[in-house]
């Protein structure tokens, strides 16, 4: 019936195919230009392709602090970890939160994964405890050192964290220091000499508290004696036990280097009372690297109380220990009551040790603990091999699809190939640009997603081509067929791409880890598929339909009416009653 009329109408409705095509090409040029401009020509590769180590950490609420897992805390934790790990001197480390309670740490190859693991895996449970007594870290054969004598000889312990101590005398020099906030108050805490000759015992928390008391309860003393901080295992065990102790109980603990062991009183100020801490270089008073701490208002009061008490005592009981996860990271001496909500620790820090301590103090402000739930180390060799394999797989897949399309669609396959190329270029450019922009890294599942997407993208063309061929079978010439086939093909493509995108979006939002990388690529390529079909394939078809080669149905065009089974004078054919209508 209206076929001829439609033929006439169609061109009017198709807009300006040339312009749309130019737009797409401009967009491509823009993206590629962006790549050159930003200097990133290849997508960032994930750990599994580039080699390196990846940790997944899972946050856990600390006992008694429910609901601490929230975006802010996770973000802060990630920032702190980032600083800590990057403090290792690794530049390209990246730390990201993922989902609600995971943090991913990716460390490129060539880094000391072991050191990073320790840094990352150190969970934060920070507290300030008064030192009741301290002694050298080895097992003490004879019980019985009395606390009072311990302040005496400092034996330098060379801990990196604790820094060295300068100054053996009991009086601390107050280094008043302006805090960052400009508070006037301050105080200085000197790092105390940490060593002490004496006995050791390992004390466990459950024992009687000896808060404030000068005398160490025998049970604690015994544990202190038994404690052996000189071996890794011993320290680990002690740390674990100490970390499990209630804040209100005294504990025995080692310092992180294992050179000293301590009996510590109940927690005076909790890590969560620390608002922030950082290492600064004090040029004004020449103290070198110091660590500044700010407390919350509540924490400031507690800190004032505890320092007030400690300042009056004799060494070593004028020290307090900063305990992180059951290990003493620093044991500064207090010389005076510190009011004002902030404090600085000074004394023999190196830049590194000051930063470490600063980070640990900030880390402790989070009521979260983390544990490593997944660790993957991929050597550069394997990473390269996997990348290689992924590329080969992609090439094989693409090659097979191309062969199939050419065999089946002949000339039309050119359209499909051009569209696939555009799609591939757009995908590549976007992935490359998204690297710096949103920390997107191409990993193996993402490569898989891209390969699988070849099928989805090619399918859109198949839907459209089949539609056009159906129109031709009905006896239309190419130009009206291209235009009439489009609205229905468009709807089918949109509906099916929507379902595909929905799957990708849900997966991306809900899942974690590798599944997410896959979902991201799948979603991205699905979106691009729509863009490409609408803005490239369709206009290109419209233009090509004007070419003689296609319009006349050359036998290699893939649109030969005879081959398609449409017999041109079809409308008149008696055998096809259908045509009554068409005619």
């Amino acid at each position: 019936m209206a076929a001829p009329k439609k033929g006439r109408r169609a061109p009017a409705g198709q807009g300006h195919p040339g312009r749309t095509l130019i737009l797409v090409l401009l967009a491509m040029a823009g993206l590629i230009g962006g790549m050159f401009y930003s200097g990133t020509l290849t997508p960032r590769l994930g750990i599994d392709l580039a080699g390196g180590t990846s940790f997944t950490l899972q946050a856990e609420n600390m006992p008694g602090k429910p609901n601490a897992i929230n975006e802010t805390n996770m973000k802060t934790a990630a920032d702190i970890m980032d600083r800590r790990v990057n403090g290792l001197g690794v530049s390209e480390t990246e730390v990201q939160t993922q989902g609600t309670n995971h943090i991913i740490v990716n460390i490129p190859r060539g880094t000391n994964a072991k050191q990073a693991r320790q840094q990352v895996g150190t969970t934060a449970q920070l507290g300030f405890r008064p030192v009741l007594t301290t002694t050298v870290g080895t097992k003490t054969p004879e019980p019985k050192p009395s606390p009072s004598q311990s302040g005496k000889n400092a034996k330098g312990k060379g801990g990196e964290q604790a820094g060295s101590q300068q100054h053996a005398s009991s009086s601390a020099t107050p280094g008043a220091k302006p805090t960052t906030q400009g508070r006037a108050v301050t105080d200085s805490l000197k790092k105390a000499p940490s060593a002490k000759p004496t006995p050791s015992g390992s004390a466990k928390p459950s024992t009687p508290p000896a808060p404030g008391g000068d005398q160490i309860p025998p049970a604690l003393q015994k544990r202190l004696n038994a404690l052996d901080c000189s071996t890794k295992q011993g320290r680990a065990a002690a740390g674990e036990q100490a970390a499990a102790t209630k804040p209100s109980d005294p504990v025995v603990a080692c310092n992180t280097e294992g050179t000293q062991k301590y009996v510590l009183g109940p927690v005076g100020v909790e890590g969560t009372d620390v608002k922030g801490a950082k290492a600064v270089f004090d040029s004004q008073q020449g103290q070198g690297w110091i660590v500044q701490m700010d407390f919350t208002s509540d924490g400031g009061k507690k800190f004032a109380d505890i320092t007030g008490k400690l300042a009056t005592k004799a060494p070593p009981q004028n020290q307090f220990a900063i305990v992180l996860d059951g290990a003493v990271v620093s044991d500064p001496r207090v010389s005076e009551r510190l009011n004002g909500g902030n404090a600085t620790i000074s004394g023999g820090f190196t830049q590194q040790s000051a930063q470490d301590l600063g980070n640990m103090l900030s880390y402790g402000a989070l009521p979260l603990s983390f544990k490593i739930v997944d660790e993957t180390t991929v050597t550069a060799a394997l990473g390269g091999e996997q990348l290689h394999a992924g590329l080969i797989a992609g090439a094989i897949g693409l090659g097979l699809v191309v062969i199939y399309l050419v065999a089946y669609y002949r000339g039309l396959a050119l359209v499909a190939l051009a569209s696939l190329c555009v799609s591939a270029i757009l995908t590549y450019a976007l992935m490359t640009l998204l690297g710096p922009a949103i920390q997107f890294a191409l990993n193996l599942p993402a490569v898989c997603g891209a390969i699988v997407a070849i099928g989805i993208t090619a399918d859109s063309f198949i839907v459209y081509f089949e539609r056009i061929r159906d129109e031709i079978r009905e006896g239309r010439t190419l130009r009206p067929a291209v235009e009439r086939g489009w609205p229905r093909a468009r709807r089918t493509i949109l509906v099916s791409d929507f379902v595909s995108f929905l799957a990708a979006a849900v997966l991306f939002i809900v899942t974690v880890g590798k599944v997410q990388g896959f979902a991201f690529t799948l979603g991205l390529t699905t979106l691009l598929d729509v863009v490409v079909v609408f803005c490239f394939t369709k206009p290109l078809m419209t233009l090509l339909a004007r070419r003689k080669f296609f319009a006349d149905g050359h036998s290699w065009s893939g649109l030969d009416p005879k081959r398609l089974g449409a017999k041109p004078p079809l409308r008149r054919r008696r055998t096809a009653p259908t045509q009554t209508k068409e005619a």
């Binding site: 693991r117 997944d374 090619a458 099916s496 379902v499 929905l502 799957a503 974690v512 009554t580």
Partner: protein
């Protein structure tokens, strides 16, 4: 192609076709059988969950001359008696899996193992997984699956109708069950890669189904206004009409996956590529099958329970009986007015061979409107 092309044309015109709807009971039966096999396989053999889900460590070494048995003994002693599974990969590399190690314990094991195998620690690829992590991945995947199903059913119910949504859901579950069943029966290891593959099947399986439904919806738009075809016949035509597309889509989707499978299995031996593509391969095949043989026939069954469709079937039957009663010479006279009346034409596969394709009805529509 010309051969395929002309088959496409004949399918399109309804000259040839397979009676998918009429024979649906057979396919239902086959599907039920496969599904039951899958479920029984799952129940009896269970899934072979990889280290990633059960927790443990996987070490892979570069090419080494150490034999599998030797490596296994060393791995077991290094890990303090944990069960170790050692595979030799194609290029002489070893893959050593040790179950039950937690992430803390695994580090010294790695060092010791490297020492015993005389490989620098930095050349050993490791993957340490805490048991909770695998659980987490699996749980999230289930959650994603659930949310996706709800959303997609809602979407299909809105875009199409609830019967199609229901049928698509059943087909989807069917595909997933079969894929999981294959894993259980063959004993492939289930890894996060498998889960990814499985989840992708979601999109793909529906993608295919949606295209058939789209054509069915189009074809059955004004079904009650005509009396030539029953819903079943129209549905059958829709399937046949999109058959070429379905086959092409499936082939084009399977080809890259086959590439992955070939490279993953052939070059890398084992790993993520292989896992994803294996699940995809099984799932895609099941998906193509179910959208043709299960989803659309199910819609037809559901649809045919509607009073309207029953009435239509009755009218069609009556009309055909009447037509049959008339002489053959009158046939033309009968058809012409009809075509004019509703602008429809498009016979069912089951109809006389010379009748036109059902797809025409859809195509005829817009022109009808324009008039």
């Amino acid at each position: 192609m010309s051969k395929l092309g002309s088959i496409g044309a004949r399918l399109y015109r309804g000259e040839v076709g397979y009676d998918f709807i009429g024979k649906r009971k057979i396919w239902y039966g086959i599907s039920i059988l496969i599904t039951i096999t899958a479920i029984v396989g799952l129940a009896v053999r269970g899934l072979n969950m990889g280290i990633e889900f059960s927790g443990g460590a996987v070490f892979s070494t570069p090419k080494t001359s150490v034999s599998t048995a030797e490596a296994q003994a060393q791995a077991q002693s290094a890990s303090g008696g944990h069960q170790a599974v050692v595979q030799k990969l194609g290029d002489g590399a070893l893959r050593i899996q040790i179950g039950g190690l937690d992430t803390q314990q695994a580090v010294p094991v790695q060092e010791q193992l490297a020492k015993e195998l005389k490989i620098p620690v930095k050349d050993v690829n490791t993957q340490l997984v805490g048991p909770s992590w695998g659980e987490e991945i699996a749980n999230k995947a289930w959650l994603g699956l659930g949310i996706f199903m709800v959303l997609v059913v809602l979407y299909l119910a809105i875009a199409f109708e609830w019967r199609m949504a229901l049928a698509a859901l059943i087909a989807l579950i069917h595909d997933l069950t079969i894929t999981v069943g294959v894993y259980a029966l063959v004993g492939f290891e289930v890894t996060p890669g498998t889960v990814i593959g499985l989840l992708t099947i979601l999109g793909y399986s529906l993608y295919d189904t949606v295209v058939v439904f789209d054509s069915l919806k189009e074809a059955s738009k004004d079904i009650t206004k005509q009396t030539r075809f029953t819903y079943s016949e129209i549905a059958n035509r829709s399937i046949n009409g999109t058959l070429v597309r379905s086959i092409n889509t499936t082939v084009v989707a399977l080809l890259p996956v086959a590439g992955l499978l070939f490279v993953g299995g052939g070059l890398l031996g084992a790993g993520m590529l292989n896992d994803i593509s294996l699940a995809l391969f099984v799932g895609l095949a099941a998906g193509a099958y179910s959208s043709i043989f299960i989803a659309t026939p199910l819609v037809t069954d559901l649809k045919n329970r509607e009073p309207e469709m029953k009435a239509l079937a009755k009218r069609v039957k009556a009309k055909r009986a009447a037509a049959a009663a008339k002489a053959a010479s009158q046939e033309d006279a009968q058809e012409a007015p009809e075509g004019a009346a509703d602008g429809e034409d498009g016979p069912a596969v089951v109809g006389p061979r010379h009748q036109p394709a059902a797809r025409n009805r859809g195509r005829g529509r817009p022109s009808g409107k324009r008039r």
